[in-house]
């Protein structure tokens, strides 16, 4: 029985073993979440979350639908603020500063934290203008600077070669996978330090997904990345650490290799082996 | 700095949004305040329940608006009797029976009909409908309540058609499928399932149509003959609240009892349409809840 399950785990998590995170390398803690609670109207969506995220790592957040993982992600750049009747408790500190501090400017926060949404959401502008949007709203007018920045962002998002001859075409002329990478480029252009990815590949085909995942690997060198995903193989492939959420609680958080091979809690194992969710 | 600017913009838009509340309150309170002086001289019971409106009499001015209220309702009811069946049948046809092509023709027809100014409809009441009525009923002239009703029906039709059609379209497809699956014909499905399911929406449509008819001025002013007395029959001339205001306000001096009394008529008109529209609103809300 146990043996059978073990093989099952390995088959679902191929690729984990050959990804080595250097545990000795002392990464600085970039984000720390302390005793964090979140409420919609009267119901509590997140319960007492504690979590530390190191710089230049990828943290995968997994869990069944409705467990609060997208809500959690949207707390980091306070996108939930747009919903009425919400309440925060506790703290999320980025570089030691609490993002719920009254003095903090929410706009500065969002400029510092890029976000890519579940459904690719290019604006109805040209490819160039999509990437330049974040710069323009920041009041940058210098044309050379903008075009330099746009091309570098597109290169970083591994999209440059595919679009360099058609920058003035509508963003809607791109394929789904290209649109998603365009959204990543758009987020990169404002030079964030943290990237939030909300199921970035859920609407993409396998080839496009592979490209996005490859890109995440590259981006890790410069950014701290938090990625919500439905797809466990994806979490296993791209993330260094994995956090498992259930019913608004953080059940377990550890190195991806550990979570997928020797989870310390029974319920994590059940989820990963596909008993539910 | 940035935040202050954002707050300021938010505040400005809020003030802008709240402006409509101020207008509605403003209309109501100006009507009230301008009509109050009239009631220093006129007994309010007499105002509402006397049928004699004779502000120009030498001996005793009388300001009773009952005849106008009755006229208004006569014309309105007449209009609804015509527009209600016609409007609902058209809406039912458009939402359930019509093919793509019929719909493409009918939709603009309804929109264009809604766009024809009331003064043009009133003009046609004089030159076309009036003579026709006179011929049919052997009357001296055709400027009477029936004429007004026919014209108001035309004016209320677009409202009734488009809102009823929305109501019918919002009935879940599952109702229709269930009915058809039980072996009902499409006709039975429309009559026994869809129309009953949409009934509150349809009623609301008619009430909104009615609100429009009560408040309509130019058509009734031009086509109903405007005799200021208690109407005797549908074939006699009538004078509604709206046409009384339209005829007399231009001729009375400002700030006389007669002037204030006309605002009193406006206030009554405002309250009646307000109640009709509010009721329609509540009924429509109920429909939305049921459909959901």
């Amino acid at each position: 029985m146990t043996v059978k399950m073990k093989t099952h785990i390995t088959s679902r998590t191929q690729g984990v073993s050959n990804k080595i995170v250097d545990e000795n390398k002392e990464n600085i803690v970039k984000i720390s979440v302390k005793d964090f609670n979140f409420y919609y109207e009267k119901s509590q969506a997140l319960k007492n979350i504690n979590l530390k995220i190191k710089e230049n790592t990828v943290v995968g957040i997994i869990g069944p639908s409705g467990c609060g993982k997208s809500t959690f992600l949207r707390c980091f750049n306070r996108m939930n603020d747009m919903i009425s009747g919400i309440k925060y408790e506790g703290a999320i500190c980025i570089d030691g500063k609490n993002i719920f501090d009254k003095e903090l400017d929410i706009v500065d926060l969002r400029r510092n934290i890029g976000m890519v949404f579940q459904k690719s959401n290019p604006f109805p502008k040209t490819i160039f203008e999509n990437v330049a949007y974040g710069l323009r709203i920041n009041g940058i007018r210098n044309k050379e600077y903008i075009s330099e920045k746009v091309s570098r962002s597109l290169r970083n998002a591994a999209l440059w070669d595919e679009v360099k001859d058609r920058l003035n075409q509508s963003a809607f002329s791109l394929s789904g996978g290209q649109q998603q990478r365009l959204c990543i480029a758009r987020a990169l252009a404002v030079e964030p330090e943290v990237l939030l990815l909300d199921e970035p590949a859920s609407a993409l085909d396998p080839i496009a997904t592979a490209k996005v995942e490859e890109l995440i690997h590259e981006l890790k060198k410069k950014y701290t990345i938090i990625i919500v995903t439905h797809n466990m193989q994806q979490a296993a492939r791209v993330s260094d650490y994995t956090a498992f959420f259930m019913m608004g609680e953080l059940v377990e958080h550890d190195l991806t290799s550990k979570i997928f091979t020797k989870p310390s809690k029974k319920i994590t194992e059940d989820y990963i082996t596909g008993r539910f969710g | 700095m940035c935040r202050i600017k954002e707050r300021l913009i938010h505040g400005l838009f809020f003030l802008n949004g709240f402006f409509v509340v101020i207008i509605l309150l403003g209309i109501f309170s100006l009507l009230v305040f301008t009509s109050i002086p009239a009631f220093k001289e006129i007994n309010i019971i007499e105002f509402l329940f006397s049928a004699v409106w004779n502000p120009d009499a030498y001996v005793k001015h009388s300001y009773g608006i009952l005849a106008m209220i009755v006229s208004t309702f006569m014309v309105t009811v007449g209009a609804l009797v015509i527009a209600f069946p016609l409007g609902i049948a058209t809406a039912a046809y458009l939402s359930d029976v019509a093919g793509q092509r019929t719909r493409e023709i009918a939709k603009p027809v309804v929109e264009i009909l809604a766009g024809i100014p009331s003064v043009v409809i009133g003009f046609l009441g004089i030159v076309m409908v009036g003579p026709l009525i006179a011929k049919i009923f052997h009357l001296h002239n055709g400027l009477n309540a029936v004429n007004g009703s026919v014209l108001l029906a035309v004016m209320a039709l677009p409202t009734i058609i488009s809102i009823s059609e929305d109501a019918l379209n919002s009935v879940p497809v599952s109702y229709e499928e269930a009915s058809l699956a039980l072996g009902a014909t499409p006709w039975q499905t429309i009559v026994r399932v869809k129309i009953p399911a949409a009934v509150s929406g349809i009623i609301a449509a008619c009430m909104l149509g009615m609100g429009r008819a009560i408040g309509e001025t130019m058509t009734v002013l031009m086509a109903t003959g405007c005799a200021p007395a208690m109407p005797e029959s549908f074939l006699g001339p009538v004078r509604t609240m709206t046409s009384t205001i339209a005829i007399e306000l231009g001729e009375v001096p400002y700030n006389t009892t007669h002037y204030y009394a006309l605002f009193g008529v406006g206030l009554v008109l405002f309250i009646i349409t307000f109640l009709v529209n509010m009721t329609a609103d509540i009924v429509l809300h109920k429909h939305e809840k049921i459909v959901k």
Binding site: M79, M82, S84, R110, R111, G114, M115, F117, N121, P124, Y133, G134, R136, I137, S170, C183, A187, V190 | K5, F13, N16, G17, F19, V21, I23, L31, A89, T90, Y93, V97, A98, I105, A106, L113, G115, P117, S118, V119, V120, I121, G122, F123, L124, T185, P186, W187, Q188, G215, E216, T217, M218, M222, T242, A246, Y254, L262, L269, F270, F274, V276
Partner: protein
Amino acid sequence: MKKRQITQVLGFNFLRLCIALVILILAVILYDIVSKGMGQISWEFLTSMPKDGMTKGGIFPAIIGTFFVTVITALLSIPLGMGCAIYLNEYSKKGKITRLIRMSIRNLSGVPSIVYGLFGVVLFVQLLHLSTSILSAGLTLGLMTLPWTITASEEALKNVPQYYRDGAQALGATKWQAIRTNVLPYAVPGMLTGTILGLSRAAGETAPILFTGAAFYLPFLPRSLSDQFMALPYHLYVMATQHHAIEKVRPIAYGTALVLIVLIFCMNFFAIFIRYKLRKVRIK
């Protein structure tokens, strides 16, 4: 045939008859006015003043008057209506005040046009001392069209996907920046279309301008916004009911009705054209 099939055929034919009747009504209206008004239309009719006690001549001052009043109406109604729609769709939160605002809009759209006329007389003519003028009449009509403008503008804003706002704000745009740069550009064509449709209705209204500035006859064109004016719908009313030689001026009345209807159609087509044209630009 079975009984219920017969019922169905009869029923459907009854519905067809009804819709045919509705179409027939419009056809008769348009046919009557076009056929009888057409003969009246000439360059002179459109560009000259009324002559000989309005039994001859043209309707130029009425056209000009309607034009100026509609401009004033637009100047009041467009910014206020759009602003209110932006507040409702972008800023407002669910609550009593929002409900109150929405209720007011629905009720304002049901207030009879003659009541707007009464309101205009007291507010603009008497209290604000604007006299019976283009300005008073235009402002009165502007208030009347406000609910239509708001409803149409909000509809246009609703059609802009939510992610345009979220995406922009996630990039660090402030709320207003997001609205200004990433919502309004896509909503404005729809807003304008709805607004112009509302204005076309205002241009045909008579009751609100009866006491706020429209004149029976003026021997000159309005020189400023505080002058009285002649307007197409009021001119038609005068020609149809108030003239001393009604039968004699019937053709002029028909001509005026035709010009009025054509003007309203033109505004409608213009509105639809704007939507079409600007949508094309945007997709590119």
